[in-house]
Amino acid sequence: MEFEDFAPKLSMLLYGVIGFVVVVGGLLLLLDVVPNYFARRREAALVAASLSTSDGPAPTLGRRVRKHREGLLGLAFLLPALLLLLIGLVIPAIRTILLSLRNGDSTAFVGLDNYLWIFRENDIVRVLLNTAGWVILVPLLATSVGLLYAVMVDRARFEAVAKSLIFLPMAISFVGAGIIWRFVYAYRGEGDQIGLLNWLWTLVGGEPRQWLNEGPLNTFLLIVVMVWIQAGFAMVILSAAIKAIPSDIVEAARLDGVTPWQMFWRVTLPSIRPALIVVIVTISIGTMKIFDIVRTMTNGNFDTNVVALEMYNQAFRYQQAGQGSALAVFLFILVIPIVIFQIRNLRRQREG
């Protein structure tokens, strides 16, 4: 590994940073100079107008022009973001919808064939069922663990440290987490087991197993990895919501002599309902698009495949742009009911 290997990369980084400074700095400068120039011209025009006629429509004209300029200026502030969103997201999304109605190399129109294919092919139905399992179990388990933990360490000693421990996996990539857990599930045919799970399993008298090869258990074991990552997110949001419960409510309930159990179900849970919904919705949407964990741990083999991985395989490994696009659109359609549910909830919350 010599420096020459790094030189082209580092110069790219340098170009990138210089590009950033030039683009953003230039934009700010432009936004500074251009309105100033117009302001000066407007002033000159106003002065000229007031010299020729002391009354008249000049001020109102000025205001209308100013409003117009505000619009132009707003556009200038928005331009980079809007342009990038248009080129990088909006137009491609529309093209994906169109591609999903065409065949593998996009040469012929095939109507809804690609969508029918999703439900006809047995392998793909399996993929849909697996994804459904993920979307049901991950939010449920991650939220439960996060809530349980948030309630239990609330106001305990070492609360901050205890929370950090659960929170830490959020910083780890799905690929890294996949390797960590593959090591936990590792299997050896003979000799000592090196995987934690097989070691514990043999301790209680079981035969070592190839955990990731046995469906449907393997899908569940992959789900565990996602729960492991997401529980910290649930815990942080819910813990903040718990702390925001007005203390007079808690005090009143305590004076009424409720048990901790009743306190949890009757006071805590209803008070944190909005936060709970946000957590479940966010984790569901994230889980729907799960890709990296499955790809790293089983690569979709042994009946563990999910929609996002199959989309990647169809579009980029098998070069089936039509079927890949149909799966992408399908993912998008799956997200919509969740978002509608979320918007309804927000609206109801705002109304009362």
């Binding site: 590994m1 990369k9 950033f20 973001a81 809007l82 659960i166 949001i237």
Partner: protein, 321 residues
């Protein structure tokens, strides 16, 4: 994807002691089970990572033949795995130093660009009056729900073949290869980050007091001046939390990198390389453990040192959809 922005109150008020004996017993019992359950959860959440970290320092034969928990009866540590996986000459050893640099080169501009563009856009959407502003904001906000899978195929074909409509070339192909592919990755990450970034910064910027803007305007400052010298200093914490989100997202991303950076040693980041090692050399635990830790260590440092901002960002914007 909005939360109700609850305040993170850290103060621990002393719990009143229960007045009855039964209450006291119940409370003790309760807090004991609570302690045990929370310790079990904390163990499940930390032991796998600890096992990986410990294993990465064990000699190859030890890792492959004995569990990492036997380390405590046979303590032997080595840096050999890290040396091999980072600087080893053979292509099978990982050569992660190279991919580590790639990850850095991908991440830094991919964090800078979206934050700057999103801050400008969020300011315009909050404080510049023009027609259709609210609709524009709603449109950008709604783009958050579009899965990035929806954009991958056409965006890649745009980079490699350009955009043409009815035989007329609207945008030429970029024709990037080798290190040039970094530009594609930056571009893709910037586009995909914008909806959430605009949303998060809009939350902060639109909350700034209007009198402040009015005062600056009376003093003769234009929008550009207000943006630079009033808004930017006030939203530094928001910029920090957005930067952490985006950093973690880009550094840990696999999908975008696979498609736009490819698997070559010129541009592929750590995640792509690790996934490849896990696929082709799944049994080489001395490399996988050390390699995984190499990829984890930077985000962990960032995360631990800036956790405060990260949590604040989470509570204001929830996470990326």
């Amino acid at each position: 994807m909005t939360t109700t922005t609850p305040v993170l109150a850290g103060e621990a008020t002393a719990e009143p002691t229960p007045r009855t004996a039964a209450g006291r017993v119940r409370k003790r019992l309760n807090s004991r089970t609570a302690t045990i359950v929370s310790i079990i959860i904390a163990l499940i959440w930390t032991v796998p990572t600890f096992g990986l970290l410990l294993s990465s320092f064990r000699p190859e034969d030890d890792i492959k033949q004995t569990g990492w928990w036997t380390f405590f009866s046979n303590p032997q540590l080595t840096f050999q795995n890290y040396n091999d996986v980072l600087f080893g000459r053979s292509s099978s050893s990982g050569q992660l130093a190279n991919y580590f640099v790639n990850s850095l080169v991908i991440t830094i501009p991919s964090v800078l660009f979206p934050i700057a563009f999103a801050a400008l856009a969020a300011y315009a959407l909050s404080w510049i009056n023009f027609r259709g502003r609210d609709w524009l904001y709603i449109a950008v906000f709604a783009l958050q729900i579009v899965p990035l899978q929806m954009a991958l195929v056409p965006l890649l074909s745009f980079f490699s073949r350009g955009v043409s409509l009815g035989g007329i070339t609207l945008l030429p192909p970029w024709d990037l290869d080798n290190e040039g592919k970094f530009i594609q990755v930056w571009f893709a990450h910037t586009c995909f980050a914008l909806p959430f970034a605009v949303f998060l910064l809009h939350n902060f910027i639109s909350q700034l007091p209007g009198e402040l803007m009015e005062a600056a305007r009376v003093d003769g400052a234009g929008h550009s001046k207000i943006f630079r010298s009033v808004v930017l200093p006030l939203i530094t914490p928001a910029l920090a939390s957005l930067a952490i989100f985006q950093f973690l997202w880009v550094w840990n991303d696999l999908l975008v990198a696979l498609i736009f950076a490819g698997g070559g040693r010129e541009t592929a980041p750590l995640t792509v390389r690790l996934a490849e090692l896990a696929g082709t050399r799944g049994g080489e635990w001395q490399r996988l453990t050390a390699g995984a830790f190499v990829s984890i260590v930077i985000p962990l440092i960032v995360f631990l040192s800036l956790q405060r901002y990260f949590v604040r960002g989470l509570l204001t914007g929830s996470v990326k959809g």
